[in-house]
Assembly symmetry: D2
Homo-oligomer: 409 residues x 4
């Protein structure tokens, strides 16, 4: 539990062994409880096994109910526990193909690492929703979601774990096999990794995120130009797109928002309904730069709209003459079943409102989003390789039985 | 985790609900880990349930192996987890008799409390190895091992949970039923509860422990008199027996050992093989009382013999002229399968040595133990109501398949 | 800060150096703050110095005010800080006699240890109010208030630091000198150390506390006999006196109160005005021993009377037929200026009430105190060697200017 | 002790009173000890007083020695304690001018806030080395070093505390007076606040830091142009200057370094001499942006040169074809006596090496610094209003007696 920065070197050094799993959970407040910490661990008849999971299974409730009927006790509210219970079943005892067979029962998005005393396994669903990559550090192998992890430890990026692949890493090296389920023949990489999640210096789905964002900013400048004085990014995720917009439009870039690095929760004011205070705590606005200016604000996305409304208000209070909001992705209108923690569709402002209405709600003088084609160009992909369902509603595989977000939790 | 005295009132008050289980684990160092903390909890198909267990199951390994073969994942090294997995099996879904039926599969010693949102259950094995009692505090019911718990909260002792009983306590009051296995027709209350475990002010198996110890001391004075100057108890568990010995023998009682209340582990000397230091840290000897005296030392029991040897040495160093050790129970020669954490029989000094040899090993001038009949008289019981197997080797029910201590852990 | 038992061996081992001061503060709730932790430390012109103090200075306010007028800043509310500020004054720079001269300015009770990089100093006021002793552990010297400290670490008791002595301990051994103030020619050892404070296995003012208490119990039986069935001690401080009373009277000793070792503050009931609950948490009463009995209760002292009243009530509730309270010291009627934390005289029940009245207040059938002569006989002292001012009001040296408790704090 | 982000809202809310001082210490590792925590507090004859200090006194050792000779005990190694001891002296008891008089004895840089039960005082030395400003939040006054503090709590900036001013704030409002020492008639604002220390969104010495840095970057582009492909800032302090350089030169800005926000000390590799690892942990380099490019790297300053050397190496390893380092301030050649924690002059690379030599040491293809005049233009000041001693060696007031850094500590 707790932040990675609280990890002590002493604790790390006190750990023995030749292999390890580290996992940083991207959690919403409610589910940040001890029992949901990963990696999960079980002492199965076939031996000890640990697992960490990135993604979201869409048939975990179905499997959970089936196994509970035969006597399994689930310890967590975590869909990742499902794979451990599957592996504990009598039908999955053959060490040769137990993982391949069990993974074949899962639907949805999964990038898994498993560790047992003999081997490390990395596995990725056939659609390849989430990234998973292989790196090498001297004689050792490393598996990570984002390639920046390799930069930090000076390992080298080798390749992606392929969609549908189960890669076994042991003292004899690498052994690659396939998940025992049918290849849908279509990839569905999450385009939001490039829009928001991944670091700009990561190579995700074999493309540098920085370049995707720079291109998306340039494309946005072409698709939605505006007669203005300065381009102001929303730090940190909007900075690269704003550079692209500035460069393509010729408008000067100014850091009109300054991020407050060391502010914790301490200073949250008593009246917690004051959303503006929370936004202000994260970003400070610089009036002397903005006063009297026509400002293009470049941000990565608009989810609920509240934060954007606060920011536009700050710019207005700081004296900006015009405020033109430019978003480096299309409107997010549909829920994600594969691991992005969007709110209920009713709370997604683009699900319920038109772009004009959103513009009015956030108080901007104009608002424009990047087109889906523009974004696909920027990331260098197509509708057959990327999942753009949160923009388009076109899911690669609809979850069976009308699964809802609540059921998943 | 941690000591009861570290519990904060704030934490207790922050807990909501109308019923609760508290559990203090009597653990050896090795197993004091988080996953063994009780109560255990599971979210079963029949609803949430928590359980705390006093005692030791002798067929838990057998059940563990059977359930693992059908897909159950065990989380702890705790034999108490067995009952939760039994309750999760498809055959135990009928709320009317699931507990009675599942408990009927267990062998060994168990005093259980279960808590679900509707009711609290208290259950005790047919032999009644461990105590379990019912109390009342105004309109509320309380269940506890030792009756001193009632004194502290000013509740009233009502009765024992009977051997083989499953007592359900809910908003409609008490409902008593029986475990669905055959009554062996013989009780086997643990006599060591009176010798050492329980507090003197507890009523255990319906007899005051203080009186058992006072009688055992008197009986010991009759069975093993000695021509001496003073009677010195080993605090705290030997004090009441020593009063009995003093009163029956007419020899004056002197507190030749003083307990060090506030000494923690801090002062353990670097050379950890120095067992004497550890004993000294617990008890201080008072030379000016002992010098030139013929001393009767009354203790509750001798397990390995090391501690006794150190104490005799301290008395000798303090100037005692003669040292006569009197033990208020018979020699402990056999392992306990039912919850007393005796060491392996090879380490039980009375398993491997005669009384004369023990006397030589500990360096006393004489050594005598209370007889088994004497102890049974003192506790007011018989071989048909008490388990004296640790003295006699006569177990009420031999664990099947030659179970060993290691298997249990 | 915190309990000695929370000290970790690692912390102790991480401390370097060849000498150290440990100090356990006997504090009332209010003053248990960081700034009052001892030893105090200062970086004086003459070098670094640390000091720990047992006792109470009666002219510290006067010195405090004087030094503050010339520019000294006091950091604590602790009277012990006075000596550091005295040593910092320009007149106390001669290393040969600075301590002797500065200590000569102090009035009241003090047993001090000082530590600088070169030497350890132990010093005691001319009256010898508080104990201070010298011990030896192999080639090292140890200084402690109570001699039980030596038993724990296997050091040997050597002698008392004499009243008025300043003992310097350095690599060349011991050097003894005297405080530069007049010897009042009269000692005033605190008799309450024998009554209550010290451990029974300590040698205090060269007499074993155990023997003082045993004698006081015997004397009490002679001075205040009673026709009863059993003698019940109030643990722990009343146990030895009760053995004495039992032995002299021939009445059997019974442990009618059992101490609750592991109870912290947790279980204090919401209604904090319920004093009985607090007393009950410390001691449990054993009804089955007391029912129908005429009981002599032996306690060390009665301060406010509330605790005694609760205990008498418990015995009555437990079925005792008669309750005769016997106190192993005279009534405590007067304030202590020398380190015993008595409440204001108005709260001392013996200050405001006669013995008959106290008996009625606490609800006993009879009440008797040991006489002052009886106590002096028990401790083997006289009015010229012991301070009995809390009983008699005869102070060895009245604090100047009508000092009050509040001024001291 | 600890990070501001560890402060809990509960702790803040539990503090009573109508005024408070918060202080974040900019400390080097060695001096981050409890006794150096600010605000300092003292219970003086004139009443309780707390003080926090930004800056560095150059005659504190002299005053320390003088007061120690008359009996004062210093508790900390902190030069800020000096003012408290001055205020405790008999000559400073007149509440009307004690602060003004005591501050008049101090030399060096100081921005002080004092708090007593009646009033808050803000005071600043006559040279005005460090910033100190006044803000207003509804009916309350606020004092802070940097004006961003006001933005966070939505207070309004009012004005600077003037050099030599002592501003008293109490329930009757503001009362301004002067320090009782001669106005040197020359200001010496620390120019390094604009170069490095202050946040870009702060108004320091009445000029927006963002604008100073933007101007310094533009000026640097004019003074030291280079034929290159991209401009890469060293985040965060070099970002605004790099925007200025990019805008003036027309070269595109690229974020070739990405900051690692959540990396703590955990991952510091065992071989601590590996300086590169530490630098890498703070910034990640993005090879795909840099490969084959001629790069202008804009940084705020070079102190020892090690970090710059590592960064140049990273860029080279990432495939940059040419690396031109541009520094937005002049070479730092001289020690600072007024609060900037520069290393010893021997470790300042510009103290010992020429610019050409530095260029070779860090491995760049070219290196240029901003001129002192260029920097003064950028901050809008002159040699009569700003202290540029770390560049020029021209100190506004040489510390008496050849004070050295070591003496100050």
């Amino acid at each position: 539990m707790g932040h990675v920065s609280n990890l002590s070197t002493e604790k790390l050094r006190s750990m023995n062994g030749h292999a390890a799993i580290g996992h940083v959970r991207y959690s919403t407040t409610g589910s940040s409880v001890f029992s949901n910490v990963q990696p999960l661990f079980a002492n199965l008849p076939g031996g000890k096994i640990a697992v960490a999971h990135n993604g979201n299974l869409t048939n975990s409730k179905e499997i959970h109910d089936r196994l509970e009927r035969t006597g399994s006790i689930f310890q967590t509210s975590n869909d990742s526990e499902t794979i451990l219970h599957l592996l504990a079943q009598p039908g999955y005892r053959d060490p040769k193909n137990r993982l391949q067979k069990a993974l074949g029962e899962l639907e949805g998005a999964f990038s898994f690492v498993f560790l047992n005393p003999d081997a490390l396994y990395a596995a990725r669903d056939w659609h390849g929703y989430r990234p998973l990559t292989l790196g090498k550090l001297e004689d050792s192998w490393v598996v990570a979601s984002e390639t920046t992890a390799y930069d930090l430890i000076r390992a080298k990026y080798v390749r992606e774990i392929e969609p549908g692949e189960v890669l076994r890493i042991d003292k004899d090296g690498l052994t690659s096999s396939r998940i025992e389920s049918e290849d849908p023949g279509k990839r569905a990489h999450c385009i939001f990794e490039h829009v928001y999640f991944a670091r700009p210096d990561s190579l995700v789905f074999e493309k540098l995120v920085y370049n995707s964002r720079l291109e998306s900013g340039k494309c946005l400048a072409r698709e939605a130009p505006v007669d203005a004085d300065i381009v102001v990014p929303v730090p940190d995720s909007g900075v690269v797109s704003a550079i692209g917009y500035s460069r393509e439009s010729g408008l000067p870039l100014e850091m009109g928002f300054i991020r407050n690095h060391y502010i914790g929760r301490t200073f949250i004011l008593p009246d917690q309904s004051d959303r503006e205070a929370k936004v202000r705590l994260k970003l400070n606005v610089v009036p002397r730069i903005l006063k009297g200016k026509r400002v293009v604000v470049v941000d990565d996305s608009i989810i609920r709209g509240n934060t954007s409304r606060s920011r536009v208000k700050f710019l207005r209070d700081a004296g900006a003459k015009e405020i033109h909001v430019r978003i480096a992705c299309p409107p997010t209108r549909f829920p994600c079943y594969y691991g992005i923690d969007f709110p209920d569709p009713e709370q997604l402002i683009a699900h319920t409102s038109s772009i004009d209405e959103i513009c009015r709600v956030i108080g901007a003088d104009s608002l424009a989003y990047l087109s889906e084609d523009g974004l696909l160009d920027a990331v260098g992909g197509t509708r057959n390789t990327f999942c753009t369902a949160c923009f388009s509603g076109n899911y690669a595989a609809k979850p069976k039985g009308g699964i809802t977000k609540n059921q998943l939790e």
